[in-house]
Symmetry: C2
Subunit: 331 residues, 2 copies
């Protein structure tokens, strides 16, 4: 149970900020108090749409709003580090959109700031908190699917080529890996931990971002993971987990509430599980509840997706980039 009301702000008012604001409406103890964009017009429009009392045309001014308990940072990736630090320095807690930073070094500075300023800080890895992903994690933890041999997961969509779009813009951290590749990497990390060996190959396009990224992980346990992401190919976006006693399929799109099929080898029976959002808002509601539940307990981090988890995930992404030659030209 969450007893207090928390005043939320949102910085960066793109598509995901809209989904998040809709998610917030389903949590009675959450109050959307202030929003900020670099465009005052955009901020005003957003505030009107969601009944937000305060809106700002800069990322700095919103931080002087004394009511704010926590800010959701929904800017483009390359600003996550700077904007999150700004918030924490003002003693405002932060839920920062994924990827939490451009690299592990930035993420470490963000965790350090959370420690220094005694605030709550979490990466908005929303899929982690969804019922079907929790169920998958339970199946692996309790041995329903044991001794994973192979994990396959992909997330590819097809964006028509447009060098003006964020996704094709190297300087904004574009490309498939940080945008959607992070999901299959997250799943393999959640279930298999940090790989012993990482191989990766990327197709680098005209605008110098990875349009396809294919990753191959090997683990000390002998398990393997083959992961794929793309912004030019709409891939199957399925996940398969092969244990020695059972196989688990997460139907497309596997990163959102979905349909699981568990096949236990010994009895050759399929068990099916279907998950949906109906009981609680949209997909973002689950992470919002987790944030507020943690803050209510005066935790500075979530036990489901800890600082260490974000740091390790970021470290894996760094190694993938190194293996396949993805470089961001960011000042």
């Amino acid at each position: 149970m969450i007893k207090n009301t928390y005043n939320w702000g949102i910085i960066g008012l793109g598509n995901i900020a809209h989904l998040f604001a809709q998610g917030l409406k389903h949590v009675p103890q959450a109050r959307l108090c202030a929003v900020a964009s670099r465009s005052m017009e955009k901020a005003k429009k957003f505030a009107m749409k969601y009944d937000v009392p305060h809106y700002y045309g800069s990322y700095e001014e919103i931080l002087d709003n004394a009511e704010l308990d926590i800010v959701y940072v929904a800017t483009p990736h390359h600003l996550h580090h700077r904007v999150s630090l700004m918030c924490m320095q003002k003693h405002i807690s932060v839920l920062c959109e994924k990827p939490v930073a451009m690299n592990r070094r930035q993420a470490e500075e963000m965790v350090k700031a959370a420690e220094t300023y005694h605030v709550f800080f979490m990466e908005a890895l929303w899929s982690r908190f969804l019922p079907h992903i929790r169920k998958v994690k339970d199946f692996v933890d309790n041995g329903t699917v044991s001794d994973i041999r192979l994990l396959e997961a992909d997330f590819g969509f097809r964006a028509p080529f447009d060098p003006q779009k964020r996704i094709f813009n190297n300087q904004l951290g574009g490309g498939s890996l940080l945008d959607v590749g992070i999901y299959p990497v997250f799943l393999s990390y959640l279930l298999l931990g940090v790989p012993q060996k990482i191989e990766a190959e990327a197709n680098i396009g005209k605008t110098n971002v990875d349009e396809i990224c294919s990753m191959n992980m090997s683990y000390a346990s002998g398990a393997m993971a083959t992961l794929l992401s793309s912004i030019t190919c709409k891939t199957k976006t399925q996940a398969m987990i092969y244990g020695s006693n059972a196989r688990l399929e997460i139907e497309s799109p596997w990163y959102a509430p979905s349909h699981l099929t568990l096949r236990k080898y010994e009895d050759n029976d399929d068990e099916e599980f279907r998950f949906n959002y109906d009981n609680i808002g949209n997909g973002y509601t689950f992470e919002i509840v987790e944030v507020m539940r943690s803050m209510e307990r005066t935790q500075q981090q979530s036990s489901l997706w800890s600082w260490q988890d974000s740091l390790e995930l970021m470290g894996i992404l760094d190694k993938i980039r190194e293996a396949c030659g993805i470089h961001y030209d960011i000042k």
Copy 2:
């Protein structure tokens, strides 16, 4: 049209020899004249079942049968080279089961023998001759699917662990790569040619064979292929081909007559094509017809799957083994 009757022999009477004998029955100009196994009992039983006039309890004796035009070599992989050479030295043509040899060096010797002894010689890469694979090749050749960006293909089945089985026996060339991995590698070779760069990772099991093999190919065109094989995980066994103008899906099991879905991006329409065997025997009949048609034209090799194709495929398999540390302990 095939005018002559060709007398076929089969050496090695395992499962695939049965399927092949059934396939032969559908081609009126093919006569199954002799079969050989290392077990006389097995040879006799096979001969009874398929009305074969001559049967032998050794691989050597069958070669003295003066009627034989061509032998189908269906032994375990590690004997393909030796048995094929034996046949060709007796001026008997050879259709040799895939993989044509254990490595490219052996395959080169086999091609050399075909040249020396002026016989027909072909790798039994049966999928190449199937109507749906020809259609896929046509779509790529005629630009219906142009500028391939990504190809995904896998073939994995789950064999219960048994160190006595050929598939788990390193000395018989067991493991996933040569048994089923060859199919996705074949598809990528057929559509994209020889890769510029190969990365591969294998899970090597207790009996020192690759139980999982994950492969990543990069091509000079910028295309990528991600391929997977396994003998411990029943994978989706689908193939997806992503061009810049269209996407082509070959439904599971993609290596056998199947269902194709072509999605042209510009009009967002799906075209579907369904293929089956009903018009001509089983899957093996198509390669049998190709062999006899080529022999009828006094060709020593097929134009659909040439010596060069076998050599290049074998060369790619060698590089995959090197990349992921698969070694066969074969004298």
